[in-house]
C-alpha cells in the first residue's frame, strides 16, 4: 500500500517539530527516516501511525493508497508499529503478546482460537522463536523481545509497518543480524515499511530510500547511493558518513560562504610529493580493519584530515606516524551559500581542476 504525507506541520507549543514535510512511499518499499534527535522524524512516524496529529490548519493530508486517513484513529488505520522499547505487555507471555491483536477483534471478525494458534506459530517460526511461546517478556533477551514486538505488529496483517529506532537498544552484533533479517522479512511480506533511525549506516544499508531530516524539514530524499554520492547540503554530507571539512572554504568577497568537503576515501596518499599533491604529515595509522584509516596533518593550514586507504597501500607504503607524504583529492564538494538565503549549490570537481 502506498503512502503519502503532504504538507505535514506540527508544533509542540512554540517549538516546531515538523515544517510542511512531504513524504512519498511506494508500495512495498522500505524507507528510512534518518536524522539527528530532535529533527522531527519520530513525530512524523507517530503522525503516520495516528498516535499524534498534525497542526489543525487543514493543510496536512495523509493518504494511504490515495485514501485520506487523517481522521481515522490509530486502531482503525491497519498499521503495525514496533516501538523503540518494544512495549511488550509484561503481564502476557510471548504467545499472548503476539495473539493480542487478533483476540481484541470483535467476536464476528475474530479468528477461531485454532486459527489464532496457527498464525502465532507461523509467526514464531518466521521470527526464529519457536518454543519460546510460554516465556514472559522479562525472560527474553533484547533481540528476542524486538522480534516478538515485530511478530506482534505484523500478526494483524497490516498494510504498512512502522518501526521507531528498531535496533537502537541492541548491541552491535545482534543489530547487524537483525538488520539483515528484517530486510528479508520485509521483502517476503512485501510490506510497505517506514523506519526511524539516527544511524546513517543502518539507513544506507537497509533502506530502498533514505529521507534525511533536519530541523523539522526534509533535507533530501533519494536512494542510499544518491544521498551518499550527491548530498544536497552541507548537513547531509556531514551526517552521512565521515567527511573532512576543509578550512579553505570561507566567506568570499561577495558575501557568499563556501564550504569544502572531501570524503576520507577520496583522499589519495602518495609516498612522494609530485605535481599537484599537497604536503601532509602522518599522525596516526589505524590498520586493524578492512581499510587503513590514516590521520593526517595538512601542513599548509595545520588542519587534521581523515583518510581511508586500502590495507594493501598502507602496507606497501609502510605508512607510519611522523612521515611526510603527498595528498591528492579525487573529489571535492563545494557548497556555496549566499547571504541569508539558504539555497545551496553543489559543485563537484576533481581537485586538479580547482588548483
Amino acid at each position: 500500500m502506498s503512502l503519502s504525507a503532504i504538507n505535514i506541520s506540527k508544533h509542540f507549543g512554540r517549538t516546531c517539530a515538523l515544517d510542511k514535510v512531504n513524504l512519498e512511499v511506494k508500495s512495498g518499499q522500505l524507507v528510512a527516516l534518518l536524522g539527528p534527535s530532535g529533527s522531527g522524524k519520530t513525530t512524523l512516524l507517530r503522525i503516520l501511525a495516528g498516535l499524534d496529529y498534525p497542526d489543525g490548519d487543514g493543510e496536512g493530508r495523509l493518504l494511504f493508497q490515495g485514501r485520506d486517513v487523517m481522521d481515522l484513529p490509530a486502531r482503525e488505520r491497519g498499521v503495525g508499529m514496533v516501538f523503540q522499547h518494544y512495549a511488550l505487555f509484561r503481564n502476557m507471555n510471548v504467545f499472548d503478546n503476539i495473539a493480542f491483536g487478533m483476540t481484541v477483534l470483535k467476536r464476528r471478525e475474530r479468528p477461531s482460537s485454532n486459527a489464532i494458534r496457527d498464525r502465532v506459530m507461523e509467526l514464531l517460526a518466521k521470527v526464529h522463536l519457536q518454543g519460546l511461546e510460554k516465556r514472559m517478556p522479562h525472560q527474553l533477551s533484547g533481540g528476542q523481545r524486538q522480534r516478538v514486538a515485530l511478530a506482534r505488529a505484523v500478526a494483524i496483517r497490516p498494510q504498512i509497518l512502522l518501526l521507531d529506532e528498531p535496533f537502537g537498544a541492541l548491541d552491535a552484533k545482534v543489530r547487524k543480524e537483525l538488520r539483515r533479517w528484517l530486510r528479508t522479512f520485509q521483502e517476503e511480506e512485501k510490506l510497505t515499511t517506514v523506519f526511524v533511525t539516527h544511524d546513517q549506516e543502518e539507513a544506507l544499508e537497509l533502506a530502498d530510500e533514505v529521507v534525511v531530516m533536519n530541523n523539522a524539514r526534509v533535507e533530501q530524499s533519494g536512494s542510499p547511493q544518491e544521498v551518499y554520492d550527491h548530498p544536497a547540503s552541507p548537513f547531509v554530507i556531514e551526517f552521512l558518513g565521515n567527511v573532512n571539512r576543509l578550512k579553505r572554504g570561507r566567506v568570499q568577497p561577495d558575501g557568499s560562504v563556501t564550504s569544502l568537503y572531501v570524503r576520507p576515501h577520496d583522499i589519495q596518499i602518495c609516498k612522494h610529493l609530485q605535481g599537484h599533491t599537497l604536503e601532509a604529515r602522518v599522525l596516526h595509522v589505524f590498520s586493524a580493519g578492512s581499510v587503513g584509516r590514516v590521520t593526517l596533518e595538512y601542513l599548509e593550514s595545520g588542519e587534521m584530515l581523515e583518510a581511508e586507504v586500502p590495507r594493501s597501500e598502507v602496507d606497501s607504503m609502510h605508512l607510519a606516524s611522523g612521515q611526510t607524504v603527498g595528498l591528492r583529492f579525487r573529489h571535492i564538494r563545494i557548497f556555496t551559500r549566499k547571504g541569508e538565503t539558504s539555497t545551496q549549490e553543489l559543485i563537484e570537481v576533481p581537485y586538479e581542476h580547482e588548483a
Binding site: A74, A87, G101
Partner: protein
C-alpha cells in the same frame, strides 16, 4: 579470602546476618510483644470463657459491622482512588498540586476532628444531612455514616499506593495496544489493570486495615448504638471502661486473627499477580 567471605561480599549491602537479626528483633519488640500480651491475657480465660465472650450477639454484631464496612470502604476507595490517581498522574490542570496535597489531609488530621467535621455535615441538621433526611436517607448515626468516615480515612492509602505505579507506566503500552486495534476499555482491562493490580491490592489492604482499627472518626458519627452502629474497637473500649479486661482482650484477639487472615490472603493475591506481571525475582 575464604569462600564464605567472597559469597557474602557479593551483596550490595553488607551484613545480611546483622540486618536480619535487627529486623526480627525490632518486629518482636514493636509488633509481636504487645500483641502476644493480648493472647496471654486471654489464655487465662480458658477456651469456653473465651468462646462465650466473643460469641455474644453484641460482639458478633460489632465485628460484622467493623469488618463488613471496612471491606466495603476499602473496595470503594480502591476504585475511586484509582480514578483519582489516574487523574493526578496523567493530566496537567490548574490546581493539580493543591489537589495532590489535599489527598494527604486525612493522614494528617486528628481523627476526632474528622469525625466531628463529618458529623456536622451529615447529621440530620447538617448541610448535606438535612436535605438527605428530607428524602429519607439517614447517614449520620447509621451504618452509611460509618462507611463515609472509613472511606475518608482510607482514601490516601488507595491513591498513594497506585499513583507512583501509574506515573511510571509507559504510555507506549497503551499506544501499542491501540495500534493492535484494542478499544480503550480493552486496553484498560487487559494491559493497564493487570500491571496496576498489585498496587491496587496493597492500597486495598491498607484501607481495610486502617478501617478495622479506626476509632476516633467513627465514634462521633456512628451514634454507637449496640447491635446497630457499634464498631468493634468501641466495644473494646466500652468493656475496658467496665473493667472487663478479659472480654476486651478476647475481642481484640478475634480482631487480630481476622485482620491477619485477610491481610495474609491479600498478600498471597499480590504475590500471585506479581508473578504474572513479571516482577518476581525468579
Amino acid at each position: 579470602m575464604n569462600k564464605n567471605k567472597r559469597n557474602s561480599s557479593r551483596r550490595v549491602l553488607p551484613g545480611f546476618g546483622i540486618s536480619l537479626g535487627y529486623t526480627v528483633m525490632y518486629l518482636s519488640l514493636i509488633v509481636l510483644l504487645p500483641l502476644s500480651a493480648a493472647f496471654i491475657e486471654t489464655a487465662g480465660m480458658g477456651l469456653e470463657g473465651f468462646w462465650n465472650a466473643v460469641t455474644r450477639p453484641r460482639v458478633l454484631a460489632a465485628l460484622k459491622l467493623s469488618f463488613g464496612l471496612s471491606l466495603i470502604a476499602a473496595f470503594v476507595n480502591s476504585v475511586a482512588g484509582l480514578l483519582v490517581a489516574w487523574v493526578l498522574a496523567r493530566y496537567q490542570f490548574p490546581g493539580r498540586k493543591l489537589v495532590d496535597a489535599a489527598i494527604d489531609l486525612p493522614f494528617a488530621l486528628p481523627t476526632a476532628v474528622a469525625g466531628i467535621a463529618l458529623t456536622a455535615v451529615y447529621a440530620p441538621n447538617g448541610w448535606l444531612g438535612a436535605p438527605l433526611a428530607d428524602i429519607g436517607i439517614k447517614i449520620a448515626f447509621a451504618p452509611p455514616g460509618i462507611l463515609i468516615a472509613l472511606m475518608f480515612v482510607g482514601l490516601p492509602f488507595a491513591v498513594r499506593t497506585v499513583q507512583p505505579v501509574l506515573e511510571n507506566l509507559d504510555s507506549e503500552l497503551e499506544e501499542a495496544s491501540a495500534m493492535l486495534g484494542a478499544s480503550r476499555l480493552t486496553t484498560f482491562r487487559r494491559v493497564i489493570l493487570p500491571v496496576l493490580l498489585p498496587s491496587v491490592l496493597t492500597g486495598f489492604a491498607m484501607c481495610f486495615a486502617r478501617g478495622v482499627g479506626e476509632y476516633g472518626s467513627v465514634v462521633f458519627i456512628s451514634g454507637n448504638m449496640p447491635m446497630k452502629t457499634e464498631i468493634a474497637p468501641l466495644l473494646i473500649v466500652t468493656e475496658l471502661e467496665q473493667y472487663d479486661f478479659h472480654a476486651a482482650t478476647a475481642i481484640a484477639v478475634v480482631m487480630l486473627l481476622l485482620s491477619f487472615s485477610v491481610l495474609f490472603i491479600i498478600n498471597m493475591l499480590q504475590a500471585w499477580s506479581n508473578r504474572r506481571t513479571g516482577h518476581s525475582r525468579a
